[in-house]
Symmetry: C2
Amino acid sequence: MSEKTNRQWRLSSRPVGMVSEANFDFVEEPIPEIGEGEYLVRNLYLSFDPAMRGWMEDRASYIPPVGIGEVMRAGTVGEVTESRHPDFAVGDRVQGLFGWQEYAVGGRGLAQGTKVPEGMPITWPLGVCGITGLTAYFGLLDLGRPEPGETVLVSGAAGATGSVVAQIAKLKGCRVVGIAGGPAKCALLTDDFGLDAAIDYKAEDVQARIAETCPDGVNIYFDNVGGPILDAALANLAQRARVVLCGGISGYNEKEPPPGPRNLMNLVIQRGRMEGFIVIDYMARFPEATAELAEWVTSGSIRHLEDVQEGIENAVQTFLRLFRGQNTGKQLLKL
Amino acid sequence: MSEKTNRQWRLSSRPVGMVSEANFDFVEEPIPEIGEGEYLVRNLYLSFDPAMRGWMEDRASYIPPVGIGEVMRAGTVGEVTESRHPDFAVGDRVQGLFGWQEYAVGGRGLAQGTKVPEGMPITWPLGVCGITGLTAYFGLLDLGRPEPGETVLVSGAAGATGSVVAQIAKLKGCRVVGIAGGPAKCALLTDDFGLDAAIDYKAEDVQARIAETCPDGVNIYFDNVGGPILDAALANLAQRARVVLCGGISGYNEKEPPPGPRNLMNLVIQRGRMEGFIVIDYMARFPEATAELAEWVTSGSIRHLEDVQEGIENAVQTFLRLFRGQNTGKQLLKL
């Protein structure tokens, strides 16, 4: 890592289709000066989430797009190395939208930042105790509303959000079936996370396997992927099923949105509900949820997996791991 | 009408794609004998609903499929001409699933039947005070939950259910935009039903016109059609929008379900909810709803339109009017 300069990835063009390094400039700049009320952060870990693909698009959404020429926005954790902010001192561990760079100015714009809770491992705020875990928590508990004995189906079940959804559902007394790619991830689901069954979408007929592993139908489907897997889940709904739409990674790099599920009208026959959400709407309840998640991880009720790559120069390649299905658990990059 | 025989339409084969007369046998049988606890009904009006297309398919649903060789199931109203049932007397006006035929046995199987309320025009139980109006009532009020000032978009707005949805939404203080086919239906929506705008899906760019007529987005979309119109509505959702899935007539005669909406992921960005329902689940509340609907029609708050064709021999052709978009209001056949 350079000690004198700040290496950054700046968005240089809006991706059409799959993201590539050609959409970014990798630049080296002086470490920024901080003003009154600001602080300097040295990033230690960058967080990668599928939703960041949406931030690269020039369209209105729940958060403004990243501007051309701006450092790519990302959640990170780091350490305060200088401060002119009353609430942050040198040495504080902080989390915030500090972006794909080695150093960032905190206390400015979207990069206000907050401290990492005392005693919490520094990467947790990016994963199980951050947006990822909170998305799992509110999506499953508030929208899905699992009841003991119900069958919960989760796609992207070896991913950051899916793995937490699956394990919370087990804690709530549900039968849980996970969908993931490849035998290693499927073994993780059943052997390590204790799920009742796993479906390998790369090797198996997903719709047939859902029917087989969920013989009474799916009460809650937590969808992280969209596309044909969503369609297969819709074909297997139980009455009054809840479909929680968390994201549609399968379509994020398509030039136009792919066709939706053919089995949508099963929502009528089964009186089903499909609902989307954005976790930032639950911000007021983040403290209670974070505390409960941290307790579950600390007590061993939930296993928190991280996939840690290294080196700021690998940021784009690390991001692409999400779309190639290469990550197991939360995708991070250590600087 | 034959006085001595009973002309019937019996399902002879399961339609693949669009229904045609070739899927039925038009037969003439003796008027049936009734047993103890049964009564004989002379059908006066047959009711036609898009959902009947689903009953012709050999698949599990909320009601068993019509068997090959059986009289086509349909809601009807009629008059009791013989009775060995303690609750029904000759001359009583009745409604029930008495099918595409001139005479039916009541008090048997799915054809239990009930009396038409005293003083109610005989066709109302098939339309605004029957399944059609009840579907509009519960779908809009229970799933859509309209608030004054919200924007409600309704497809099939000149149809039996859509026209009632649109008018109830106006009663509840909403801005209402209707989608229908052709200038005559669109004029009906704005001039007779008092809607705020109408969109002619046969002549206009539906998505652009929704954006234009619903500048703050769509709070409630009541979907009677599915397909590209559902997609166009999804592209124009307001935050926390509710999409009420009533049916998908555009796909009912397709050999396989058509692809779903590309804009489904807007449910995530807008935190929207899409929900299907089957009106029979609300049976316990039918009396209150029917009473309120009857009051609205009687007081002139809701206009009830009927499209009345004639002659049992025209049953299949009358059914097809629904899929050709030819009906305005409730499609009936007078015998």
